[in-house]
């Protein structure tokens, strides 16, 4: 049981770490990577909590959700990366304009 909690807490840690990086970094690639780390944390929590039951086999429903989620995360990342390259091609910057005058 205790190692399941350890995995779940590790997932929470990854999520918060990703959230910190998402807020603190302006570079879009770092933001995309940060969102991926956050997603990985969520997947880790789901997979860990699926095995909470003491003597039953792990719950297959969260596992199925994670498998679906991973593929969706990959395709969303690909779309985000193309958008980032387009922003770079259009503005020459890898950051979004924050509305302040230059």
């Amino acid at each position: 049981m205790s190692y399941i909690i350890l995995y779940a807490l590790l997932g929470v840690g990854l999520f918060v770490l990703g959230l910190y990086a998402l807020i603190i970094h302006a570079h879009l690639l770092r933001k995309i990577l940060a969102i991926n780390v956050m997603g990985t944390g969520v997947f880790l929590v789901l997979v860990a909590l699926a095995a909470r039951h003491q003597d039953a086999p792990p719950d297959p429903v969260p596992h199925a959700m994670v498998i679906t989620g991973i593929v969706v995360a990959v395709s969303a990342t690909a779309l985000a990366l193309i958008l980032m390259l387009k922003v770079y091609a259009a503005t020459g910057k890898t950051e979004l304009h924050d509305g302040k005058p230059d």
């Binding site: 049981m1 909690i5 779940a8 807490l9 929470v12 840690g13 999520f15 918060v16 959230l19 910190y20 807020i23 603190i24 929590v45 909590l49 699926a50 909470r52 039951h53 003491q54 039953a56 086999p57 792990p58 719950d59 297959p60 429903v61 596992h63 199925a64 959700m65 498998i67 679906t68 991973i70 593929v71 969706v72 990959v74 395709s75 969303a76 690909a78 779309l79 990366l81 193309i82 958008l83 390259l85 387009k86 091609a89």
Partner: protein, 227 residues
């Protein structure tokens, strides 16, 4: 300038405090969960006989919650359409692959295809299935793209599009067909379920593999006019 740096430091400290609070709150939420939840696991095990497969995860993905998987295939297709409609990347420079990458990819790709087929087949009764097999196929595709291989003219047009929509298309056709012959949408009759799931999974595997490789390339493969 020092004013700015000080505000930055103060902001960062505030952020760390705030995120620590969020981390503590989430950790408390995880720790407070009961250790014997009333999950759906038991229900899945009870109805596993009627699902047509022996692996509970595959049963959930392709049978009990098949609608989720159908929509997920749609998400993959929409993401690829989004990437293609953005027009790809203008300065896509390619360098010839080194001898190691070239030789290794020739050796590895057949093995990867074999592994994907095995994962697809074994997914009925053991860990594995369409997504794992599709990811392995996608990896084979990425390896081929990295070593400079491109789709030939004959395949880049209609055939590629057919493969890209095959998974979603077959899923929708199977679901609608079952609906029309009297069942509910995506409600497989237990006697046919095993075969139907394998068929849909095979189509989904090819689509996932092709879509992942196409997403990696970013550009829509252009059909060059014949010389």
């Amino acid at each position: 300038m020092t004013d700015n740096q000080q505000t930055g430091k103060a902001f960062r400290l505030l952020l760390v405090l705030l995120l620590s609070a969020i981390a503590g709150w989430l950790a408390y939420a995880v720790l407070a969960l009961s250790s014997s939840p009333a999950g759906l696991g038991e229900q899945v095990v009870t109805h596993l006989d009627t699902s047509g497969v022996g692996n509970p995860v595959t049963a959930v993905l392709l049978n009990f919650r098949g609608y989720d998987t159908l929509l997920e295939m749609a998400v993959l297709l929409v993401a690829l359409l989004g990437v293609w409609s953005l027009g790809g990347i203008a300065d896509y420079r390619e360098s010839p692959p080194g001898p190691v990458l070239d030789t290794l990819s020739r050796l590895l790709v057949p093995v990867l295809i074999l592994v994907a087929a095995y994962l697809l087949w074994v997914g009925a009764d053991a860990p594995g299935g369409a997504f794992q097999a599709g990811s392995v196929l996608g990896a084979a595709g990425v390896l081929l793209l990295l070593s400079g291989w491109r789709l030939g003219n004959r395949f880049a047009g209609l055939l590629l599009r057919a493969v890209l929509v095959l998974g979603l298309g077959l899923f929708v056709i199977a679901g609608t067909g079952l609906f029309l012959i009297g069942g509910a949408f995506l409600e497989y009759p237990p006697s046919l379920a095993g075969g139907l799931i394998l068929l849909i999974e095979a189509a989904a595997t090819m689509t996932i593999g092709a879509t992942l490789a196409a997403l990696f390339l970013g550009n829509r493969p252009r059909v060059e006019p014949d010389k």
